[in-house]
């Protein structure tokens, strides 16, 4: 009886000790209790506003002095470009800054002999001119000789007077789209390739080779009616006789013509010609397939030759 009581007590003590073996708690000192006060927002906003006004005033002052210097030293078309907010070839660094309405704080300027390169200080915040987002301005003897813009299709470099015009920009964008389309085509993604060619065609209307590429893509995607129209447009857009006369110089184009004519014959045999010549627009939904169901190949007798 005595031994059993001892055992019970020992067991009880063990259980109690085990129960006490919880996670060790360190009482942290509270950092905020009832009755304390939270900081005033008014003061924080007022401080931020004061800082903002000071920073802005300094920025404006620098920008205005750059602008004044730019306008004082410009002439003719350069002056007009500064006012329009467009970097043009032949500008000085201060004129380029004035055209983008920026101060030197927005740029990192590196000089090496006669060459100077200006790039945005923060890449995510590139300065913009009237044309687009400027990612690099190159100077030769303190005069702009190349400007690089970040466009949707990549970087576009303006290094000649022709590149600065609206047509020049459209051509550069179309070329970038064609390059992208060629890459998709090479990768076997014909739908995306066709999309890029279509978009390029909107920018570069008078390009027979682009029309031929669109026709080929449509043909490969088994859209015969649209392909037929495109092949016809391609052939109509060419001065075939002149191209034939030029011979080897246009061998590639001649080859395309031959292929287009060949495909047209095949497509015309397969499907009825479209009723009225519709104006095919890029990005249109394809018409329902008009290709007749495939016929089984004619059986050939043994020994028969073509």
């Amino acid at each position: 009886m005595h031994t059993s009581l001892k055992a019970t007590l020992l067991l009880g003590a063990g259980v109690v000790l085990a129960g006490c073996n919880g996670p060790r708690r360190i009482r942290e000192r509270p950092i905020m209790t009832n009755g304390d006060r939270t900081a005033s927002q008014e003061r924080m906003v007022a401080n931020a506003a004061a800082d903002g006004v000071a920073d802005n005033a300094m920025l404006m002052q620098t920008r205005d002095s750059v602008y004044a210097k730019a306008v004082a030293t410009c002439r003719g078309s350069i002056c007009a470009s500064v006012v329009k907010g467009e970097i043009s070839l032949g500008m000085t660094p201060s004129q380029a800054m004035a055209a983008t309405r920026t101060a030197p704080a927005a740029w990192t300027i590196r000089e090496s002999g006669a060459a100077t390169v200006m790039v945005p200080r923060v890449l995510g915040n590139s300065p913009k001119d009237a044309t687009g987002e400027v990612v690099m301005v190159q100077f030769d003897d303190d005069r702009v000789n190349a400007v690089s813009y970040r466009e949707t299709q990549g970087i576009r470099v303006v290094s000649s007077a022709a590149d600065t015009t609206t047509d020049g920009r459209a051509t550069a964008m179309a070329d970038a789209l064609i390059r992208e389309g060629d890459q998709f085509n090479a990768a076997g993604d014909r739908a995306r390739a066709l999309d890029r060619y279509d978009r390029a065609l909107a920018l570069k209307r008078a390009d027979p080779m682009l029309e031929y590429k669109v026709a080929t893509m449509l043909d490969l995607q088994l859209r015969p009616v649209e392909a037929q129209i495109r092949y016809q447009r391609f052939l109509q857009s060419l001065e075939i006789e002149r191209i034939r006369a030029q011979g080897d110089a246009n061998a590639q184009l001649a080859d395309a013509i031959a292929r287009a004519q060949q495909r047209l014959i095949v497509l015309e045999r397969q499907a009825p010609a479209p009723q009225a010549a519709p104006q095919p627009t890029p990005q249109t939904t394809p018409p329902p397939p008009t290709t007749p169901p495939p016929t089984p190949p004619p059986t050939r007798e043994p020994g028969q030759t073509r």
Binding site: R37, T38, M44, D51, N125
Partner: protein
């Protein structure tokens, strides 16, 4: 003491007791206190948490270089911000709008950031503008297509972790806010505030 007197005394005592009981029920007391004062009652999310979050985010947003960098690259024009979704991912009711409005107010009043109406707010404004095209006079009419596009969108969320044992409870809140460049999807600023609360529900205590 006569029976009548005894009855009268008893009635008086009963009346007095009823009056005391009724008076005891009228225990409501309302006072106005300083909105900046800390008053924690239940341990749930309250005005103090909201204010602490707002203060921290305001402080962090103006300490970051994003608005100055934008202004520098754009000829001193401050960036334009739109408030996007700010989600409450806790099980508690957290009125997100309170600290977001504090942040909006700070943006506008500081002059360092421009703010445009959010998706919900602008619907009403557009309706009114549309109505003006028919009903307002030509010189007073608000023109269409003159809205200011935002450069950055403010997004964020509130998350919480709870741990409880017996009468003790710990709640940890993490509030994240970030500004995303609408063209490049780049996050240009991330603000964060953490709140840890220890709640001890004593049965007897002073």
């Amino acid at each position: 003491m006569t029976i009548t007197t005894t009855v009268a005394i008893r009635r008086l005592a009963a009346f007095g007791l009823a009056a005391v009981t009724l008076a005891a029920c009228n225990n409501r007391r309302v006072t106005r206190v300083d909105p900046a004062s800390v008053t924690d009652l239940s341990g749930r999310w309250n005005d103090v948490d909201s204010k602490l979050v707002a203060n921290t985010l305001i402080d962090q947003t103006f300490a970051g270089p994003w608005s100055a960098q934008y202004a520098s690259a754009h000829g001193g024009t401050p960036p334009t911000v739109i408030v996007g979704s700010f989600r409450n991912r806790t099980l508690e009711h957290v009125p997100i709008g309170m600290f977001v409005k504090d942040l909006e107010r700070a943006y506008v009043n500081s002059g360092r950031v421009r703010l445009v109406a959010s998706r919900d707010e602008r619907t009403e404004v557009r309706d009114e503008r549309e109505d003006q095209q028919t009903n307002a006079s030509a010189e007073a009419r608000a023109r269409i297509g003159k809205e200011n596009g935002a450069n950055y969108m403010l997004q964020g969320d509130v998350q919480a972790i709870e741990d409880a044992e017996g009468r003790e409870k710990v709640v940890f809140y993490q509030i994240d806010a970030f500004l995303v460049d609408l063209e490049s999807n780049q996050k240009v600023w991330i603000g964060q505030h953490k709140i840890k609360k220890y709640i001890d529900r004593r049965r007897i205590g002073w």
